[in-house]
Symmetry: C2
DNA sequence: CGGAGTATCTAGACGGTGTCAAGATGGATT
DNA sequence: AATCCATCTTGACACCGTCTAGATACTCCG
């Protein structure tokens, strides 16, 4: 009775296919990712991925799971390296969030593409929940610092923060931030400030 | 010298194909949309769409253009029906934004899918710019009401508002709002209030 | 009114895709 | 050493986007 991710003929084909898929996503974007392409890149036959993932959705789900894990790790590093002030930690997390999204546009798109993934697979849910819990823990002290007491209100604020950061990242990747009159994605640090430290924006100090 | 969208053999095949594509998007999602499927639904041969759109990207671009037009119209209706108070108008626009996204998840995903569309086509750019200008005009008086004076600051606030609304809509469609501890997308009206009217959220009146 | 020109659409083919069924392979277990 | 079963290969099928050539029918002009 052994788990599926142990060595057999190939070594660890499952992991190799996920890595190949991530590499293809980075090079060719979501449209370029293909079961056969990942198989070829891993040096196996075209039908090999079906055994490990069942379908293309299965491979996408596995890739998204790894994506959430790396996302969680990237945010964790940024938070640990930040000063202890709640706003500074939120600022660092926001920067890391957008940074991850901009550096891995195809993966983040996949992670938040909803029905394209199989959310009945536990590893995906766990990885996503862990990432969200991390964000939640960052918002909590900032909310407390702001005087938010009720739980409903705190969750609402949490969702607001998440929405703005996520939306900014998505708009950046959609090319809509940078096109036309809006600034580039370097503006992200000010978002956290706008939300928590320097409000209302009218009487804000010079950046 | 006639335009391409006049009647010939079919009537107006170009429009019929766009409509068929939108219908397929609504029924089967982005993965279900196919050039051949749209052609079959419109009752023409499998290669007919290539003449009008060149490629699948061309059809997607045409659909996204219509999407931006309908999006603009939906926001316009909501804004016109709202009270004149800046915050109320912003609230109405936010609700309409998220409502459109939730009702047309595949289309809004397509509209903001970046490189998947051909942004060198003028109609798409014009439709998108018009929609953004509309949002910008809604934020302007609210920003003025808040005491924002400098142009840079106003654009930053504008981007912030757009990001939070858009992010909320995207998270709703990703299924991440509603899963786990976060509330459903009915929370959207409070976002505008959170941003402009009832700040800081700690000392807010009972909804 | 009738032929020419051209916009529109069809028919067929090609390589590539996901998925399924059946068989080959070889490490692990007894 | 014999067996078992996880792993992977081979081959096939339907469907996809796209290209080419040709058929169709609207429009214009003489």
């Amino acid at each position: 009775m052994r788990k599926a991710d142990q060595k057999y003929h190939h070594g660890d084909l499952r992991k190799a296919l996920v890595e190949a898929g991530i590499a293809i996503l980075g090079e060719a974007g979501p449209e370029g990712l293909t079961l056969r392409g990942a198989a070829a890149r891993a040096g196996v036959s075209h039908a090999a991925p079906a055994y490990h993932f069942g379908s293309l959705q299965g491979l996408l789900t596995a890739i998204a799971t790894v994506g959430f894990q790396r996302f969680h790790a990237a945010l964790g590093r940024a938070i640990d390296a930040a000063p202890t002030r709640p706003v500074e930690r939120l600022r660092a997390a926001s920067r890391a969030y957008v940074g991850f999204a901009v550096e891995n546009p195809a993966i983040i798109q996949l992670m938040f593409s909803g029905p394209r993934l199989d959310w009945s697979r536990a590893p995906l849910c766990e990885a996503a929940d862990r990432a969200y819990a991390q964000l939640s823990e960052i918002v909590r002290p900032a909310a407390a610092h702001l005087g938010v007491t009720t739980e409903d209100r705190r969750r609402e604020l949490e969702l607001m923060v998440w929405s703005s950061i996520h939306g900014f990242a998505m708009l950046s990747n959609a090319g809509v931030v940078g096109r036309g009159p809006v600034a580039g994605h370097e503006a992200i640090p000010d978002l956290a400030g706008l939300l928590f430290a320097e409000w209302p924006p009218g009487r804000v100090s010079q950046k």
